[in-house]
């Protein structure tokens, strides 16, 4: 324990402490308000500091996708696509999408964890741009998305994945996926504000994201599915994102896919960002 001064120090030292305290408390001129961008970036910095202090939390976002890649490639690859190598080409861009999207659930969990502590009250009592804590947290989370995505692509390359469009194609696919993930996180921050505990957010989040990713074309060609399921898979935005990701990495991306992904992202943000901000502000 760091010894607190009072007991050991002389009277002179106490007086010096008192003077230091007074000086620190003396009214200082109030600086001009932080800009919206600067506040959001500061909250983003906070998110990164947390990763810095507890790097283990990145295990969540890396181990699961690694398991999925290995399991699907070697366990189901032969059965689904004839050979593991061929299946890897099909599945890797999709697994990239899936693992980044799974990570978005943690944005809601992290927000809910914040709410169970007093620190949110302090943030809310600051004269800052109101959505800053949320936008900032999501900016910080984008770093996790990047980590999850990079791990998947790196593992794929090790296993023999050679995308036709090379590095630029991979970066474009990763970028598009992160944009969509950023938008989708607003849904989970909304859930994060409505649920009572971080684990409830986690359960609700995965209950939604799990079927949504599996009922897409990430793993299988929809033509093999029963027609009702196929109809759903074909309108699932995650299918469009997986198609776009494949197109960007392997060549032949369709504009429609990108348009649908960006359009869905815009709608999700337009609906859930204001909703999250409102809930965050009015939550008592």
């Amino acid at each position: 324990m760091s010894a607190t001064p009072a007991t050991t120090h002389t009277a002179a030292a106490r007086a010096a402490e008192e003077a230091a305290l007074r000086k620190a408390l003396a009214a200082t001129p109030r600086p001009p308000r932080a800009s919206a961008l600067s506040s959001a970036l500061t909250f983003g910095w906070r998110g990164m500091l947390k990763v810095k202090h507890v790097p283990e939390q990145l295990l969540d976002v890396t181990i699961t996708p690694v398991m999925f890649v290995l399991m699907f490639t070697y366990l189901f690859g032969g059965a689904i696509a004839g050979s593991t190598a061929e299946y890897l080409d099909y599945i890797l861009p999709g697994i990239l999408v899936m693992s980044v999207l799974f990570t978005t659930v943690y944005s809601g969990v992290a927000l809910n964890t914040d709410l169970t502590k007093g620190v949110v009250d302090r943030f809310r009592s600051l004269p800052t741009w109101r959505p800053a804590p949320l936008v900032g947290a999501l900016l910080g989370d984008s770093v996790r998305y990047l980590v999850a995505g990079t791990v998947i692509v790196a593992l794929g390359v090790v296993l023999g994945f050679r995308p036709d469009e090379g590095v630029p194609g991979v970066l474009a696919a990763l970028g598009l996926t992160i944009v969509f993930a950023f938008a989708l996180s607003w849904v989970f921050t909304t859930i994060g504000l409505l649920m009572r505990s971080p684990s409830a957010v986690m359960n609700a989040g995965f209950m939604g994201i799990f079927p949504l990713t599996f009922l897409s074309n990430v793993f299988v060609d929809p033509e093999t599915l029963p027609s009702v399921l196929e109809a759903f898979v074909n309108v699932n935005p995650i299918s469009f994102l997986a198609d776009a990701s494949r197109g960007l990495m392997q060549g032949g991306v369709e504009r429609t896919d990108i348009a649908v992904v960006l359009g869905t992202a815009a709608v999700l943000t337009a609906v859930f960002a204001p909703l999250t901000t409102h809930l965050y502000r009015t939550r008592s």
Binding site: S2, A6, E17, A24, A27, T42, P127
Partner: protein, 334 residues
């Protein structure tokens, strides 16, 4: 106390504040007026409505009814202006446990508009002044209660506020840490910051505040200076501690003969009685000795604020955590 002409605005001027959570009326018509530059105590047991009141004054909750102005600015209509004037220190230390002390202070400095270098310099200055410089690089979750509370207060003055809400700043602290927090509050006031101090420790309000509002069940049930509150209860009291708790019934008999309203305290060897003047107290103590009751110590004082609370509410300042917890859950669901 308050200015009747209304020229310098009051630090806090609240009228008829009401807030309900479901069926529970957590705050039920609270009026407050706090002079700029003073330390004002809000005293009450857990669940009395102190925290809810503060959360309304700090713009975190919308009042269901009533209004409040902070230095002349309405907490609902001018919420953003109010946020620029106040600073909040929560009942649970409202700092980020997963960051270091230094990072917490830099974070708040940046959010309040300090440039990067200025935020760092301010963080270093505050860590030094609050005696937590050595722990500045450690995660807050490893801090002791006293250190955490000091960091919490430091976090509230990264940019000096005009008005600071201190919600139970010493709950759960050991006496030395408590005294350190008290020193900080006195220094804050000396530098011109108004402090609204919520506490369930009567001694704390007595030590620090020039005015006190006693809150119970969401209502202000008494208001005044500590001296006025004590005077309203009337006489002083004699406290006696016995060497042998078994002699208490005997002591009670003796005191009942000489003094009024003898009260057995929770300590099995202590009892007290109302007593207006020192002569009669001396007489009573002498009477105890004559009757063979061995006295370990005695003191004559004004009534404690605990006694004030008992006199005002008819019940002791008991814990009402269940209600508080209920209010908190309702609030979350809302």
């Amino acid at each position: 106390m308050g200015s009747t002409s209304g020229q310098p605005p009051l630090a806090i001027e609240a009228t008829g504040l009401v807030k309900s959570f479901g069926e529970t009326r957590a705050v039920d018509g609270v009026d407050l007026s706090v002079r700029d530059g003073s330390v004002y105590g809000v005293l009450g047991p857990n669940g009395a409505g102190k925290t809810t009141t503060v959360r309304m004054l700090a713009t975190l909750l919308h009042p269901d009814a009533g209004s409040a102005r902070i230095l002349g600015h309405d907490v609902v209509r001018e919420a953003d202006t109010v946020r620029g004037l106040v600073s909040l220190t929560g009942q649970l230390a409202s700092v980020d446990e997963d960051l270091t002390g230094r990072e917490n202070l830099i974070l708040l400095g940046r959010l309040l508009g300090l440039r990067r270098a200025a935020a760092r310099a301010r963080a270093a200055e505050l860590l030094e002044a609050f005696g937590i410089a050595e722990a500045g690089g450690r995660l807050v979750k490893h801090y002791s209660g006293g250190m955490r509370r000091r960091l919490d207060i430091a976090a509230s003055i990264v940019v000096t506020p005009r008005l600071m809400f201190l919600d139970e700043p010493t709950t759960g602290l050991d006496p030395r840490s408590r005294n350190q927090v008290w020193d900080i509050i006195r220094a804050l006031q000396a530098e011109g910051t108004t402090v609204l101090l919520c506490t369930q420790y009567l001694e704390e309000a007595d030590q620090l505040a020039e005015g006190i509002a006693v809150i119970d069940h969401g209502k202000v049930i008494a208001e005044g200076t500590p001296a006025q509150l004590k005077a309203s209860v009337g006489t002083g009291s004699l406290h006696v501690r016995l060497l042998d708790p078994d002699q208490r019934p005997n002591a009670e008999r003796v005191l009942t003969r000489t003094l009024d309203s003898v009260h057995l305290e929770s300590d099995p060897s202590a009892l007290s009685a109302s007593c207006a003047d020192a002569d009669r107290a001396a007489e009573a103590v002498a009477e105890l000795a004559r009757n063979g009751v061995a006295v370990a110590g005695f003191s004559l004082g004004q009534p404690s604020l605990d006694e004030v609370f008992l006199a005002l509410t008819g019940h002791p300042a008991e814990e009402e955590q269940a209600e508080e917890a209920l209010a908190a859950t309702d609030g979350r669901a809302a």
